[in-house]
């Protein structure tokens, strides 16, 4: 029986694990290996020439390679931080609106928000590039109605990255709202009943019951939001091409440009490795931050 089960286990696992091994683990190991080489993406792996840490020295050195990389890295960090800082609180507020049993409309809101999550990023980018248009776009017109002067949106280095953050938040927030609702349904209603008996205000209930008990949901949301944010590509590739003045040149766009378009496979791999290590650090910090909160209570 044990023999039969382990044979079946191998058969059942082979397709999925085999595919993931070949198309995720092997390229991941190759990325790490190639990051120590000088290699043209247009040629075979056997042409890669070991150069030690030279690529990493370039990335953190004073040349234009290092400057462009650090700009892309900073832009991605800023973009990620802004996205998470907007998405998390918004998803809790919208989640409360969807979850409440107090007023009708919650399910409609959830449907609208989640529909935007289904829209291909490429279509989002195209539509928003027109919404942002300084002349024929409706955003500046609407701002004009309430007396706010027209904004430069995508055309100024000061506002372009933030404009792409807004576009991203609009597309993604529905997914995180559903996650927040999932977290809210896990909180026992008896806690709120007890709090009401004790005369706790709605505000106090939110800070003392809702938020602490959503810790795991918020951690999960934060991790997913970070992973999603570093993948931003379409709006940059399509609308801004990294500009104006490098202000929207983000990691995914930069790595692809260097590693595929310029065929500098070793250098691009070193960038990818740096991105991966940074992500691991951020995720470990997020876990530490949320675990700290748990111990304080």
């Amino acid at each position: 029986m044990i023999g039969r089960t382990s044979r079946s286990a191998i058969g059942m696992l082979a397709p999925a694990t085999g595919l993931i091994a070949i198309f995720v683990f092997v390229p991941m190991a190759l990325t790490i290996g190639l990051s120590f080489t000088q290699w043209s993406t247009q040629t075979g792996f056997d042409t890669a020439r070991f150069v030690g840490l030279a690529n990493f020295a370039d990335l953190f050195g004073p040349t234009s390679i290092g400057r462009d990389f650090r700009a892309a890295f900073t832009n991605t960090a800023l973009y990620t931080a802004l996205s998470v800082a907007l998405i998390l609180p918004l998803s809790v507020i919208l989640g409360l609106m969807v979850h409440q049993t107090f007023a009708p409309g919650g399910i409609v809101l959830r449907t609208v928000l989640f529909s935007t999550y289904m829209v291909p990023m490429i279509a989002v980018a195209l539509v928003w590039s027109k919404l942002y248009s300084p002349t024929e776009g409706p955003f500046n017109q609407m701002l004009g109605w309430v007396g706010i002067p027209p904004q430069t949106w995508l055309s100024s280095p000061n506002t372009a990255l933030f404009s792409i953050v807004l576009l991203n938040v609009w597309q993604q927030v529905g997914y995180f709202t559903v996650l927040a609702v999932a977290g809210l349904t896990q909180i026992p209603t008896t806690l709120y009943e007890a709090a009401r008996v004790d005369g706790a205000s709605a505000w106090l209930q939110f800070w003392k019951i809702t938020l602490p008990l959503m810790r795991n949901t918020l951690l999960f949301s934060a991790v997913i939001a970070v992973i999603n944010a570093v993948q931003v590509f379409e709006p940059v590739a399509l609308i801004t091409q990294g500009g104006p003045v490098n202000s929207t040149n983000v990691m995914t766009y930069h790595i692809r440009r260097v590693g595929i378009e310029r065929a500098q496979g070793g250098l691009g791999s070193a960038m990818a490795v740096t991105l991966m290590l940074s992500l691991i650090v951020v995720i470990v910090l997020l876990f530490a931050f949320f675990r700290d909160r748990e111990e304080q209570r």
Partner: protein
């Protein structure tokens, strides 16, 4: 937990609930605005879409832009390419995930938990990290610059395995043991007993996989290497932007965007319960 099983709500009629409903309505309208504007713009004449200040409603709604899209890009071909990519990956992901999810949920073998953890870790790996060697690997395998190269690396993924394992754990062991005593093979048990028991999870995974691969842009753009015959709709769409750039043909771009948005959004509106339930299952227990 499912939205359809929620008990009937009786809303109190007072000013507080009315105010909240109004707020919800305003947010919903604001969130829907970009999509509404997209559809409205696709029905405008070129002159209307370039007007300053912008006109919100098309004066005489027409579908000219939609016909023009099919002249600029081979729309039918792009749709078929997208359908091929989304359908092949989806079917394969469902089958491979069912099999692996069953093994992880119902077998015990040496190293199971380690293997599972290693697979789950790949869920958190952004695709850009493996893009460069993967691009070269498809060259070695002779599947670059065509649709096979788009689909082959995506026939299995960790999210599907995770989702299936979560649901299959809930299938009673007695049911599986009884079938084994009756002499059913493991494959028969999986597809005749386990799979029907986890249909909501299969529906959810089907929709997630379909939407993800219908919408995906970075990998097809990279592996297809400019072979426009093989472009899915989302990449063909980006070609509309460069076409006739001087005139900024907004209506054309919006018509293309509307066409690309329709399949995933329509699918979602009809089947949203499965999406929501599966997010609940993965988000809460994960």
């Amino acid at each position: 937990m499912s939205s359809t099983k929620r008990p009937y709500r009786r809303y109190p009629a007072n000013w507080k609930s009315s105010l909240l409903s109004l707020a919800i309505l305003v947010i919903a309208v604001a969130a829907a605005f970009p999509l509404v504007w997209m559809v409205l713009s696709s029905l405008k004449t070129p002159a209307e879409s370039m007007q300053v200040p912008p006109v919100w409603l098309p004066g005489s709604p027409n579908f000219d832009a939609y016909f023009e899209v099919s002249e600029v890009v081979s729309l039918g071909r792009s749709f078929l390419n997208s359908a091929f990519i989304a359908l092949v990956t989806t079917i394969a992901i469902v089958v491979t995930s069912l099999m692996a999810g069953y093994a992880f949920a119902k077998y015990s073998f040496a190293g199971r938990d380690w293997l599972f953890a290693a697979l789950i870790a790949t869920m958190f790996l952004p695709p850009i990290v493996t893009l460069i060697p993967l691009y070269r690997m498809t060259g070695y395998l002779g599947i670059n610059a065509n649709l096979l190269g788009v689909v082959v690396p995506h026939l299995a993924n960790a999210f599907g395995i995770f989702l299936m394992r979560q649901y299959i754990k809930g299938v009673p062991n007695d049911l599986i043991d009884a079938a084994r005593v009756d002499g059913a093979s493991e494959v028969t048990i999986l597809f005749k007993i386990v799979a029907p028991a986890v249909m909501p999870a299969i529906a959810a995974l089907t929709l997630f996989a379909f939407v993800y691969h219908w919408n995906s842009y970075l990998w097809p753009l990279t592996v297809l290497q400019g072979n426009t015959d093989q472009y899915p709709i989302v990449i063909s769409l980006s070609r509309l932007l460069s076409y006739n750039r001087g005139a900024m043909n907004t209506g054309l771009v919006m018509a293309g965007a509307t066409l690309a948005v329709l399949p995933p959004v329509v699918l979602f509106v009809f089947l949203q319960r499965f999406f929501v339930d599966s997010i609940m299952a993965t988000g809460v227990k994960g």
